[in-house]
């Protein structure tokens, strides 16, 4: 089960507060689907590309097929822009 860290506005909007949950997702795309089921509407936020994904501390862009193992930590953060 991957460990999903929901913080910031995503957490406040959908879970009320910062939350950590465990989700059995194969990859990030699967995770988005499962999270949308748990929190209806969250899928749209992911589809809008406003968020980046950090997997075990590593920011990955467009991470759909990134596999998620047991104990993988996944966090979402506003997509940052380099300069």
């Amino acid at each position: 089960m991957a460990r999903i860290v929901l913080t910031g506005d995503l957490a406040r909007r959908f879970a009320g507060k910062d939350t950590e949950i465990k989700v059995a997702a194969r990859n990030v795309r699967h995770l988005y689907q499962l999270l949308d089921e748990l929190y209806p509407g969250m899928g749209e936020v992911f589809a809008s590309r406003a968020l980046a994904v950090a997997i075990d501390g590593d920011i990955v862009a467009d991470a759909y097929l990134e596999p998620l193992e047991d104990d993988t930590e996944v966090a979402f953060l506003p997509a940052i822009r380099g300069g």
Binding site: T7, G8, A50, I55, D56, D58, P78, G82, G83
Partner: protein
């Protein structure tokens, strides 16, 4: 691919870059150095008002002028729905981008483009621009970010309803969004504080200041395809964004990257390119467009002006118990400032239990803000690192010691969610404390400041191909414009893997049709991600070389190792074959050898930096002289140390300029008063001492050569380092940038008066 320590022959040395001779002889072709036969010159009509409705545009007189071949106005562009286009590591709203390229309905800032003309000469194009009749309905405007947030402020977009609030408002405002990140309980945390610092800070808009203005030559063919030559940090982004704005297919646009004269984030989007393509289409001839320096200042993407509140509390032994920040950033005319990155980066050098950051993205009648080297982080660090400095003073603690006690390390959870793996934050602090600069003496009116900084760095998409020629030389083909010496780094990594001389490697930065999509040159990513692609491609070549050698030598490929540029049979006496020997017969052993790699690189790993700045403040003039400056950064493995040092030095100097002199001056009509290098005062050689650098080389475990991105972190600490030094020299805490002599003197005089 993970890091493996090895004996290195090329990586870590300082060879001359492959494009070096062209650049010192004037032969290298930058954006404006290209010309096509029959080309026209394109010019842009820009708004003279900060905020106005476009009542009518009459181009008839301009069209009638002999030599004018095409004119476009906003109405000629297609309407685009709001959509975040992933252009590399950033997301740009294409609807807003299109309106920024050419205004429709309203002009939103002094300099906003509303028409473009192509004519047979620059003079005729300028005359035509002057003949375009625009009727404006001038509207009240707002520039300052705090003013723009007030309920009675003039509203720029009547469809802007603040996102991120508990309830979406029903009245339009200039607040595009609010974001909040928190951990623990700040209110509870502050109760345990022995000392609390609470302070507000302001910064002005500053420009990346690249010396090369934007330039493009576009040629639209009769077959509906466009050839575009321009200097850009991301020619793939130019292609894709222009395609979206113009409603074309990406495959119909081919963008050839010119050499680029600086970008720092400011050349990661499009301004002239869609206009040049559209003008060329209408005229049936190539169109060349260049920006004047005034246009660059008025109408490209400076970094936001900001207003920030920071509150930090600590116990008397220096442990931070709570931190609470509010950042208000102005995004310019369209939403999308890097306030999010500031929220994430400002507090990140510290392991905190209780923290909260709130960020506001606010629009105002200034040009659309753009990315500038670690966008958002310099501002966030300015406020947090200034507050940390005051905290250290209150606690009577050494400022490095205070940071070290609270430093983030492996296992620290960042406020934006993830947990850090191995990072260099403490290593850099220790290196700072032990540096001779930190222990050296200061004289009267002199002071020392330190500040830390953090930047994420990104990986992203890169493509590379390596062509092995019959004579044993190779060409590396990649897609990252060389803004700071990266061709050299690519050549070095390829030479190292292949075991051949650096001089046998040529590097080509290919156009969008000739190499796979590569994300832009920025985000501190090229040596990391494109370097990884090049390394992978070189490993691919090595595999093929070993296979050919094995077949030629009549041994099993598993019994062939690659060493020092040759395939060596490990069993029996089959001997060895050099790369040149294998290449010479490649046609007969299976064909030309090409190595390839297409990756979406991960594992970039963050950067931490700490800077030491010594200043002397003249009490009679307020003039602030930088006496000594040292930049310490964890840089992973430095492939070409000169170019890593260069990034550290260049970023520090940009920060010094931002802290002491640079700012956008708007008058009461919202017009930019200083759109030129005379009054937008960037540091010159005589302003500065040497910038010493210390590269803390802890290899990044996620890269085959241990590379960590280095380009952006250098701009994060300097603002506070300078201001903290000023405080040490004078006892005066300056909270508004830039600290010009005028402001410094006023502050010194005010303090003198207060004392009397």
């Amino acid at each position: 691919m993970t890091y493996e320590p090895k004996d290195l022959k090329v990586v870590g040395t300082r060879p001359v870059r492959p494009d070096g001779v062209d650049k010192v002889t004037g032969r290298a072709n930058f954006g404006a150095d290209h010309a096509l036969p029959g080309q026209l010159v394109g010019k842009v009509l820009r708004s003279p008002y900060a905020h106005a409705r476009i009542v009518s545009i009459d181009t008839s007189k301009a069209e009638a002028l002999a030599g004018v071949k095409s004119i476009i106005v906003g109405e000629d562009m297609q309407d685009i729905a709001h959509e975040l286009s992933q252009s590399g590591e950033s997301a740009i709203d294409v609807h807003d981008l299109s309106l920024n390229v050419l205004a429709r309905g309203k002009v939103l800032y002094d300099g906003h483009a509303l028409a473009a003309v192509a004519a047979t000469s620059a003079k005729i194009a300028d005359d035509a621009i002057a003949l375009i009749d625009v009727t404006y309905d001038v509207l009240p405007h707002v520039v300052d970010v705090d003013d723009a947030m007030k309920p009675d402020a003039p509203v720029l977009h009547d469809d802007m309803f603040t996102k991120g609030l508990e309830e979406t408002p029903t009245t339009a405002s200039n607040i595009a969004s609010r974001m909040e990140m928190a951990m623990g309980d700040v209110e509870e945390g502050f109760k345990h504080a022995d000392v609390i610092i609470e302070r507000s800070y302001k910064t002005k808009a500053v420009h990346q200041g690249y010396i090369e203005p934007h330039a493009v030559v576009a040629s639209f063919g009769e077959d509906g395809s466009a050839y575009v030559w321009c200097s850009s940090q991301g020619h793939f982004a130019v292609r894709d964004l222009s395609a979206k704005v113009l409603g074309m297919d990406s495959s119909s646009i081919r963008v050839i990257p010119a050499e680029i004269g600086g970008g720092f984030g400011g050349k990661t989007t499009v301004y002239l390119e869609p206009l040049a393509i559209a003008l060329s289409k209408r005229a049936g001839r190539p169109v060349k467009m260049t920006m004047t320096r005034a246009e660059v200042f008025r109408a490209t993407g400076p970094t936001p002006a900001t207003s920030m509140d920071v509150k930090i509390g600590a116990t008397k032994d220096g442990k931070i118990v709570a931190a609470d920040c509010e950042f208000r950033f102005h995004a310019g005319a369209f939403a999308g400032s890097p306030v999010g990155a500031a929220c994430m980066a400002g507090l990140t050098p510290y392991a905190l239990e209780n923290a909260r950051v709130v960020g506001y993205d606010v629009v105002s009648n200034t040009c659309k803000s753009g990315a500038y080297r670690a966008p958002g982080a310099p501002n966030g660090a300015f406020s947090v690192e200034s507050a940390m400095d005051e905290l250290a003073t209150e606690l009577k603690m050494d400022p490095i010691e205070l940071r070290h006690i609270n430093a983030a390390e492996e296992g620290t959870k960042a406020i934006y969610g993830p947990t850090f793996k191995q990072i260099g934050c403490k290593d850099v602090l220790v290196a700072t404390r032990e540096h001779p600069h930190y222990k050296s003496n200061l004289g009267p009116n002199q002071g020392r400041g330190i500040a830390s900084g953090f930047w994420f760095n990104v990986g992203g998409q890169s493509n590379a191909a390596i062509n092995v020629h019959e004579d044993g030389t190779i060409t590396v083909v990649e897609g990252s414009p060389d803004i700071g010496g990266t061709r050299a780094a690519m050549a070095m990594m390829a030479a190292e893997v292949l075991g051949i001389d650096y001089d046998r490697v040529q590097v080509v930065v290919a156009d969008t049709a000739s190499i796979g999509h590569t994300d832009g040159t920025g985000g501190s990513r090229v040596t990391f991600a494109t370097g990884m692609a090049v390394t992978n491609a070189a490993e691919d070549v090595v595999t093929q070389l070993r296979t050919r050698a094995a077949a030629t030598m009549g041994v099993d490929v598993d019994d062939v190792v690659w060493q020092d540029g040759a395939a060596i049979a490990t069993k029996g006496d089959a001997g060895s074959l050099s790369l040149a020997e294998i290449a010479a017969t490649a046609a007969r052993t299976g064909g030309i050898i090409v190595g390839r790699s297409s990756i979406n690189a991960k594992g970039a790993g963050p950067s931490f930096a700490t800077h030491i700045c010594d200043v002397e403040v003249d009490p009679e003039t307020g003039y602030i002289e930088i006496l000594r400056y040292t930049s310490i950064q964890d840089v992973g493995k430095a492939i070409h140390p000169s170019y890593v040092e260069g990034q550290m030095q260049g970023g520090a100097v940009q920060g010094i300029g931002w802290a002491l002199n640079e700012e956008y001056f708007y008058n009461e009509d919202g017009i930019l008063e200083n759109p030129g290098f005379l009054d937008y005062r960037m540091p010159v050689a005589s302003d500065l001492p040497k910038i010493d650098t210390v590269m803390v080389e802890v290899p990044n475990p996620s890269h085959p050569f241990g590379v960590r991105g280095v380009g952006e972190a250098p701009l994060v600490p300097p603002l506070a380092a300078v201001v903290n030094a000023i405080e040490d020299a004078t006892g005066v805490r300056m909270t508004e940038l830039p600290v010009t002599p005028v402001k410094m003197l006023a502050a010194l005089d005010a303090r003198k008066e207060a004392a009397e």
